[in-house]
């Protein structure tokens, strides 16, 4: 990365002609605290520091927009490398970049194209960074396709808030797209609804029952799941399925196709096989452009106070005309991240610990994959480390009511989540 040493050309006269029109003058809805003119420009261009999470479909757009609006100290994190299927929308990448780090290539491109902007890439995981790292930014924009990464980032920023220190509250702007649909939202950690508050708005993934896959396939998807979930481990042994390896996809495709032919099921194709095993979400440049622009516009308004920012959720559906809906998503008092109150849960007196775990895994507003459970005084069940798992395993068959008194609290943790969830248990009858 030789870019650090590049001399930074001075701004040229006229460079900010467009932007300055809204920075020199307030509009009818601009807050009185807006300091039109040099003060706000100095903050935006010389003092603010912004973090972009993700340098993919949304990230490429976000970086370009931020650079053009005058943010000059931008950091970007992405753990992915560039794939050929990114090139239909991730416009900072070229065929020669396939295989390289998204964060590094994107940062270099922006610095080359927009003079005087410094973009610092990090090719790695958001979890590699500590609180002190996140504390240095004024704003964070997330353009991710992973629910888990967003939950982590959201919880980290909520935990960062120290009521005594206003600077510790970092606005989080989150964008997401799926085909012609998308959303952009502004989260003020601890003040407004957070990412975790709205988990139940996510579409539930279609899961096919294993007995259908094994015994009564009807759809091409059932045959593909049979190939990937049952046949792959059975035949290929310990070899890990790499959904980016064409040999692996080709194998699954042929196995699925053979099964489909046996049962006279139509519609198994290479593309469907890949779509099912990789859980591919359609993605296009235009939707990413809209959502990224909406996110960056909020970042600009928050950084400059030139106009009120979004309160707090913008949703777009572009299939039938242009439909969008802007509304305030409500904070949840029992949100495990920002709510403070325990989640009420009523169980049957006969419910076992194992059944409680199944309920938690299924629950749309929690979505925990491998929960570990404890009470203030004892360990109920731990998924790891192995010794602890073994020691607590006998509890799986026990009734929860034998371990937790009515009104008692259960703490739920998972390695993937940087927070714990409190349940207040009561029993029916």
């Amino acid at each position: 990365m030789a870019t650090e040493t590049q001399s930074q050309p001075a701004d040229w006269p006229g460079r900010y002609f467009h932007i300055d029109q809204v920075l020199n003058t307030p509009g009818p809805r601009t807050d009185e605290s807006f300091l039109a003119g040099d003060g706000v420009k100095d903050f935006l261009r010389n003092k603010s520091k912004i973090l972009v999470i993700g340098a993919g479909g949304l990230g490429c757009e976000i970086l370009a927009n931020l650079a053009l609006t005058g943010f000059k100290d931008i950091h970007v994190i992405d753990m992915d490398t560039i794939d050929i299927s990114n090139l239909n929308r991730q416009f900072l990448f070229r065929p020669k970049d396939v295989g390289k780090s998204k964060a590094i290539v994107a940062a270099e491109f922006i610095m080359k194209r927009v003079p005087g902007v410094k973009v610092t890439p990090y090719f790695g995981k958001i979890q590699d960074k500590d609180d002190a790292y996140y504390m240095q930014f004024n704003l964070v924009i997330c353009g991710l396709d992973s629910v888990e990464a967003r939950r982590w980032m959201n919880a980290t920023l909520v935990n960062l808030v120290d009521p005594e220190e206003p600077e510790s509250l970092k606005p989080l702007i989150d964008g997401g797209t799926e085909g012609f649909k998308g959303q952009a939202r502004v989260i003020l950690p601890t003040i407004t609804s957070c990412y975790e508050c709205s988990l139940d708005m996510l579409n539930k993934q279609t899961a096919f029952p294993i007995c259908t896959i094994a015994n009564t396939p009807r759809l091409p998807e059932h045959c593909i799941e049979w190939a990937s979930v049952l046949e792959w481990p059975r035949v290929r042994g310990d070899l890990k399925l790499d959904t980016d390896d064409p040999e692996h996809i080709g194998w699954l495709y042929k196995i699925a196709l053979a099964r489909a032919n046996e049962f006279k099921i139509e519609g198994v194709t290479w593309s469907l096989t890949q779509g099912v095993v990789k859980n591919i979400i359609p993605a296009i440049a235009s939707t990413n452009a809209v959502i990224a622009a909406a996110c960056c516009n909020e970042a600009f308004k928050i950084a400059t106070s030139s106009a009120a920012y979004l309160n707090n959720y913008f949703m777009l559906i572009g299939t039938d005309g242009v439909y969008s809906y802007t509304f305030e998503h409500e904070k949840r008092d029992d949100c495990p991240v920002c709510g403070g109150e325990a989640l009420e849960m009523t169980l049957k007196p006969t419910t076992t610990v194992e059944e409680l775990i199944d309920i938690l895994v299924e629950k749309q507003d929690i979505q925990i994959k491998k929960p570990s459970l404890s009470t203030p005084t004892k360990q109920i069940y731990f998924q790891a480390p192995p010794q602890l798992e073994e020691a607590t395993r006998p509890n799986l068959e026990k009734k929860v009511s034998d371990l937790v008194p009515p009104g008692g609290e259960v703490t739920v943790t998972a390695t993937t989540l940087p927070f714990s969830l409190s349940l207040r248990i009561s029993y029916s009858e």
Binding site: W12, F17, R89, Y253, P282, I284, A285, V322
Partner: protein, 531 residues
């Protein structure tokens, strides 16, 4: 690879399988899942003209070049100014200043996709309209951003003058506000990708389905098989039995519907038969009459459908044949869809049912085709029959026609006051530009803009309450092409252009208005702009 894996591979290679996708299919994979090969091929044969290489224009083009349109031309006689170099990502900062704006933008846009052909045309629109206007008709669609009002008027008049000329997308923006409009005579959509599913026609079961359902021996069936009868078959059977006992009528009252559902549940051999639970949940399909949706039957009465001639567009012939099919076929419904949703069933029962539906759908398609008066490509007929419940025909108006009709604007404002406010504020800005000297600095006051907006409404009509918010933003930044607004417009306009070119999904029908202070988009619908 283990021996067993190798064996499986060898034994399955006999089946004709596709080979791994080529580089192009891999590149476009994420969009092919939305508009398929047919949409992609429409994009690849399209030719897009963009007038003026502004930041908004290049943002639109970026989102069209990436998915792979065939060709684009930027028409722009101007040189890059320092102001352009500051807000346009498809210019290279100060090093582009003084060069041709069209050439610089085309060069940098073409880097995004080497399958796309781009051309810079340094003529002015005035010159084209004066000496070479036929050239304009050579494009699939024309996009114009913040064009001089007089030139825009001439351009829209010319493109409106012949129904075969390309649609015109008019884009206007100032500061945080923007709008766009697509001028087209007509736009028909077969593949609307509607989320409503076609009827399974349980209330009007076709003979083979009825026969299958009524002769199946439910009582003496093996318990496992009984738990795997598809709910469609259960419902057809129960409904038929019900009608026999009720003068040929389906359940009518709430009490009867309840009784009908209880009858379904009473047929269970075991308490956990999910297929019967599905049948109970789907029971409404038995008494919901399969009819032709009103939006489709309205098409049947369209004068252009009724009076088709051999030269009419295929869409009209298809709708004409559909009208006859509905009228003359005994079920008086749309052709049956062969798409069956998944349901609890054994593989053989499901596949058997699916085969019955497919066979019947083929028969009805053949009947449908017999009504066609001209030959039409097989894949178009297939798509039409498959989507006949969700067809769309949009009829448009010339750009600016609504602004000449004050009463229509007032009416539209009653439904959508915020949207009308943005439209009026931007129209007022156009009026001010129209009256000012070319090249003079543009700094209109709120008062001057309000006066122009008021002049668009009939005497006595007042501006919407939200107008002050809109006009204040226009006065604040009358010539600002803000990067975020340009990027957002770039996304929305490209999305609508893709819909126009592919004839898939439904494009806007009116003015799409955008206010990025309060972060909303809205539509001033043509159907609401009627006095």
């Amino acid at each position: 690879m283990s021996q067993e894996a190798q064996d499986i591979q060898d034994s399955t290679t006999a089946i004709v399988a596709e080979s791994a996708p080529d580089a192009k299919t891999r590149r476009y994979d994420r969009q092919l899942r939305l508009w398929a090969a047919s949409g992609q091929s429409a994009l690849e044969s399209s030719r897009v003209l963009v007038i003026a290489g502004t930041a908004t224009s290049t943002s639109v083009l970026k989102n069209l070049v990436l998915p792979g349109i065939g060709h684009f031309t930027i028409l722009d006689p101007l040189e890059v100014t320092p102001e352009d170099a500051g807000n346009n990502f498809f210019l290279e900062g100060p090093s582009s200043i003084g060069k041709s704006r069209a050439e610089e933008a085309v060069r940098l846009l073409c880097e995004l996709n080497d399958g796309v052909d781009g051309k810079a045309d340094k003529r002015s629109l005035e010159e084209v309209l004066e000496n070479d206007k036929e050239w304009l008709s050579d494009f699939t669609i024309v996009i114009a951003h913040n064009l001089d009002p007089k030139l825009l008027q001439r351009l829209s008049e010319y493109l409106w003058s012949d129904t075969t000329f390309p649609p015109l997308v008019v884009v206007r923006s100032a500061g945080f506000l923007a709008e766009f409009y697509i001028q087209y005579h007509e736009h028909s959509v077969i593949e609307s990708h509607s989320e409503t599913t076609p009827s399974l026609r349980i209330d009007k079961a076709f003979p083979a389905l009825l026969d299958y359902a009524t002769t199946l021996d439910f009582e003496n069936m093996d318990v496992t098989d009984h738990g795997h009868i598809p709910y469609v078959v259960i419902l057809v059977r129960v409904l038929e039995d019900w009608k026999k006992a009720h003068n040929g009528l389906p359940p009518q009252t709430y009490a009867e519907k309840k009784e009908f559902k209880q009858g379904i549940m009473a047929m269970r051999k075991k308490s956990d038969e999910e297929n019967f639970e599905e049948a109970e949940a789907q029971a409404y399909r038995s008494w919901t009459a399969t009819t032709v949706p009103s939006e489709i039957s309205e098409l049947f009465d369209d004068p252009k459908v009724k009076s088709v001639t051999p030269s009419s567009p295929p869409f009209y012939h298809l709708v004409n044949a559909l009208a006859k099919f509905v009228q003359e076929q005994p079920s008086h419904t749309l052709p049956l869809s062969s798409t069956l949703p998944d349901m609890k069933a054994s593989t053989s029962a499901y596949i058997h049912l699916q085969t019955l539906y497919k066979r019947r759908a083929e028969e009805e398609k053949a009947a449908f085709k017999s009504y066609l008066q001209v030959p039409i490509a097989e894949d178009m007929v297939d798509a039409f029959v498959k989507n006949s419940h969700a067809l769309k025909l949009l009829r448009g108006k010339q750009w600016g026609a609504v602004d000449k009709d004050g009463a229509a604007l007032v009416k539209g404002g009653e439904v959508a006051p915020k949207e009308l406010s943005v439209h009026l504020a931007l129209s007022a800005l156009s009026s001010v530009i129209d009256k000012s000297q070319p090249g003079a600095p543009l700094t209109p006051t709120v008062e001057a803009l309000t006066e122009e907006a008021q002049a668009l409404l009939p005497g006595g009509a007042s501006l919407p309450d939200d107008f002050d918010n809109a006009v204040g933003e226009v006065a604040r930044a009358p010539t600002a092409d803000l990067p975020n607004v340009a990027a957002l417009l770039g996304g929305l306009v490209a999305q609508e252009v893709i819909k126009m070119i592919t004839k898939q999904y439904i494009p806007i029908h009116g003015y799409c208005t955008i206010d990025l202070v309060d972060a909303w988009t809205g539509t001033l619908k043509l159907s609401d702009l009627k006095p």
